[in-house]
Symmetry: C2
Subunit: 246 residues, 2 copies
């Protein structure tokens, strides 16, 4: 029995999220169907975490156990030929038996991308949220800095979150300016349901002057979802990187 | 009567090219339908030139004459609200009565984009041709340089071309390396049917070692389409820029 770890990029536009849903088409379903076509095995893969409907991944990580004798360096090519063209395996490697894509993950980074052009860039329209009104980048940075550290993020979680603890650590939250606008990168030890989208929506509200960076400590302390900004649109979000111990 | 010039970006993936076709859905149809919704006028727009089915444009230019009293600085916003999200007007301006998007054009630049990653970048898959085998960039550059100048480009035109003359001038043909691979930029005073795609296909053949840069003069001299390389896939091509006299 081998434990195989893969890195996968996907365009989430046409999917109901990563994780298998009764309601339909997910990334996980496509990956498991592809593996079934290759090996005949009925396998459940383990993702590093969920991504919501419409959210993308540059480097999602998952693992699964297989009896297959496909050489590890052939797996990516073989599986890609069984996947739709909006899901692309980037890398496959064999890992120790106890590696678990979710429990072993140490840090995750998401990117929230904002297109600040007057009119949307048509070639990135599925991956960047279009917001052409001026944003106060310095204020956004100040607000994001106030989120860094260990906090109870109840105010930044969907009320539907079923996690027993809402305490998480954000290691970094930075805003990078580029040709098309702004890239918000958030790195943490884990994220609650909708957390990055609420952070992005709050940062945008600060950028618009509707909220103030100095409000952040009180928003965190309130442990009340209604105090933070809106949940930003899914299509601007991308799972960027998942880190594991060496 | 005003003469309005617009710059439009489009994702050509789902269209049968720029120019109205009996066979169906084109960019021109969408633009004319949008203008009709706004003004009630039955207008024929004049594009700077055609783009093939599946080819994109970053900055296609077109013009049309209208009796509409919509202020010129409202046109782009108004028309964008009547267009599908894969067609975005970037800019509108009023121009002199005799401006003609095709006849007035002096130089055009196309980009042919090659994704040289081992596996395709899922987020640019509709805009870059994936070619992961190694390419000899120096040889490609040498071959492209041999195309610069005024030549009869019959060997680089579809046999379906109905132009009376196949003499065109290429001012520049350069290859830029970027994060995802190679961008081939070709600037000329005009292009024949399939010409940039055949230039791209020939450059790729040179990069693969199937043809030699030193073959180019003989290919041009032959005036025979079968001597040049294959016609590269449409989706890698983008109309980048159209220049007019100041």
């Amino acid at each position: 029995m081998k434990n195989v770890r893969m890195t996968v990029a996907y365009d989430g536009t046409h999917y109901h999220g990563f994780q298998t849903q009764p309601s339909g088409k997910t990334i996980q379903d496509q990956l498991e169907a592809g593996i079934h076509m290759l090996t005949g095995e009925e396998i459940r893969i383990i993702g590093s975490g969920r991504t919501d409907a419409g959210v993308h991944a540059r480097a999602q990580v998952f693992n699964f156990h297989t009896e297959s004798r496909i050489p590890i360096d052939r797996w990516a090519i073989a599986l890609n030929s069984r996947l739709p063209d909006d899901i692309v395996i980037q890398f496959a490697e064999e890992v120790q038996e106890d590696f678990h894509a979710r429990f072993s993950a140490k840090r995750k980074t998401y990117r929230y991308a904002i297109d600040t052009n007057k009119f949307p860039n048509v070639f990135t329209r599925h991956y960047r949220f279009h917001h052409h009104a001026p944003l106060d980048v310095a204020a956004m940075r100040e607000g994001l800095a106030a989120l860094i550290g260990e906090h109870d993020f109840t105010s930044f979680a969907s009320p539907q979150s079923t996690q027993s603890s809402h305490v998480r650590t954000i290691f970094d939250a930075s805003l990078v300016q580029n040709q098309d606008g702004l890239d918000l990168f958030v790195t943490g030890n884990g994220f609650l349901y909708n957390m990055v989208r609420i952070i992005a929506g709050t940062a945008i509200s600060i950028g618009e002057g509707k909220m103030s960076a100095s409000d952040i400590p009180a928003i965190l302390a309130a442990c009340d979802r209604t105090k933070a900004g809106p949940t930003a649109m899914a299509h601007g979000l991308m799972l960027w990187h998942v880190e594991y111990p060496e």
